[in-house]
Symmetry: C2
Subunit: 316 residues, 2 copies
DNA sequence: CCAACTTCATAACAAAAAGCGATGTTAGGG
DNA sequence: CCCTAACATCGCTTTTTGTTATGAAGTTGG
């Protein structure tokens, strides 16, 4: 015999409040309404839920036992309400985010951590990939958003692109590196060192090649390639190798004091790091708040980087 | 915004069964019914619960999260159904039982333990008392049943009395007692020992006096009185005192091998041990099954006692 | 790529449930 | 004994739920 969960909740409220009238009040219903509900429930169960002939309605043992279950149901219902509220306000939700490895590891992961503190109901599914795979996953809806470098004219028709940070690259090395303490650096000095490269199919790898040629060097000795940011960093601090990384990544790594950027101008790719989402689909509230959080954080980061640059160039 | 718990249950079933149609089937409802329910729920929440444009209806993360809560509600609802079923069938319930101490300790407590195995959802509140207090507690509904010795004509108007066992008393002593190994016992021999008595306000105490005078003795030396069955028993096994106890109590104590009854006829009170309940009130199913269990057990006990008596008298 | 099939959404209507105010009934308290 | 608070009942309206019939959209297998 199926019981209506709502009836059990009503029973629970009556028992908890110690009376039918108070219970009805707490439920926002009229007294006759809950009276009949209880009456019907008793009829259906074939057993009294309340002692009859007692004015401050007193539950039977059976009624009390059912009311306990009803209370638990009521609490779960309230939990569901909270959940719905959090989801609707963007305090909770699920985000499947994919992006290019270096930038995800070097910049976005920090922001994920910060965002977690603000919206503790969020759950991230992170994955890595380059344009093609990210776009594919966006389209087949296994990804909610992608973070990658993109030229404005590269934006696919069915997607929206929100730029976060310009794609400015720098040459990076360990902080004790012989080149790090010098002022101007000559091409010949740089040619003396070999390079650490990201995976060969990454855009950053093409950037690396462009950057090296842009400063006139043609030395392409790769001592190490194919690693993630963590292994690149570990390798750099233990050798005198150089590498090319987004300035934002190096900037955030600087605080650890192991990696620095060299004061050499290199060619910048005409791409911007940004967020790619499916077009014409209303984002979940969670996704909206997260995206605006990222935009805010990146703007802040860019501001700090600009100040740092001015200082380095002697222009306070 | 209040959610309907039943809607959450429906959502849970759809997610669990992997489709709206199967979910509707499992719920015993038509497919359009649950379809509209979900549709309304989504409208109310302002967020989709299922990915649109997917034929085997696939829940969103939000839908899945709500469904989990719905499933827990559904399980609680089923638990409530089980509870109601158990109560209605007498497999579960609460029994407030009061009775005269010696009989409760010596006979009923054994049966409570046995009953517990048969109906594991039962919960006993046991208390002690004599006629007046038991009757009072029955009337003000702090007691569901009382167990006590009563004359048929003593039954109060507003109560029902169900006899369980005739009130037959015997003289009891420790098994190694000098009188225990003899055949016929003379009055003079009995007079040599002093007595252990139950509380002075108990009916058993009056029985004791009656029994002693019935065998002609006028020796009323009370070495010990006022204790419960446990202390009477402890006292008896360590002394040569005698006492008067209901035969049923002694019979059940015999199996431990420390207490025996003496083969002397004593006067029997014209009362029967039985169950007193409020009249004109339909007993809970639990109480009904328990009472019939007690009746069955006592009949069985009486039968065993009768056989024992025949054997003791040499009539197999 | 096109049937054929499944699966879900919608419409229209009937039935049940839940809501309410007015009012009757009863237990508890001076 | 009467009064009051608490609950039950009645009559009515509104809302919800359920059903069948039917249409639309996604899936599948060739």
């Amino acid at each position: 015999m199926k019981l209506d969960s709502e009836h059990l909740e009503i029973l629970a409220m009556i028992v908890e409040r110690g009376g039918l009238t108070e219970g009805a009040e707490a439920l926002g219903k009229s007294q006759p309404s809950v009276s009949r509900t209880i009456s019907n429930l008793e009829k259906r169960l074939g057993m009294p839920l309340f002692e009859l002939g007692r004015r401050p309605l007193q539950p039977t043992h059976f009624g009390r036992a059912l009311a306990e279950i009803g209370l638990r149901i009521h609490n779960l219902n309230k939990e569901a309400q909270r959940l719905a509220y959090h989801f609707s306000k963007g305090y909770a939700g699920h985000i499947r985010i994919g992006g290019t490895p270096i930038f995800m590891d070097g910049v976005i992961s920090h922001m994920l951590a910060d965002f977690q503190e603000r919206a503790d109901g969020v759950q991230f599914d992170q994955s890595y990939g380059y344009l093609d795979s990210l776009l594919g996953n966006l389209r087949n809806k296994t990804l909610d958003m992608a973070i990658l470098p993109l030229r404005d004219d590269q934006t696919p028709m069915d997607c929206d692109f929100r730029p976060l940070i310009p794609g400015r690259n720098v040459i990076a090395c360990r902080s004790g590196h012989p080149l790090a303490r010098k002022g101007p650096i000559t091409l010949k000095e740089i040619d003396a060192y070999s390079w650490v490269a990201p995976p060969a199919n990454s855009p950053l790898f093409r950037d690396l090649k462009g950057a090296i040629t842009s400063i006139g060097s043609e030395n392409f000795k790769f001592t190490f390639s194919g690693g993630t940011l963590a292994s690149i960093q570990s390798f750099l601090v233990r050798t005198d190798c150089l590498t090319v990384l987004p300035y934002s990544v190096v900037y955030l790594m600087k605080s650890a004091g192991q990696i620095v950027s060299l004061p050499i101008k290199v060619s910048h790719p005409d791409r911007k790091l940004g967020i790619l989402t499916r077009k014409g689909e209303d984002l979940t509230p969670m996704l909206k708040t997260f995206i605006s959080f990222l935009e805010e954080q990146c703007e802040n980061l860019e501001c700090r980087m600009a100040r740092e640059t001015r200082i380095a160039q002697g222009r306070p």
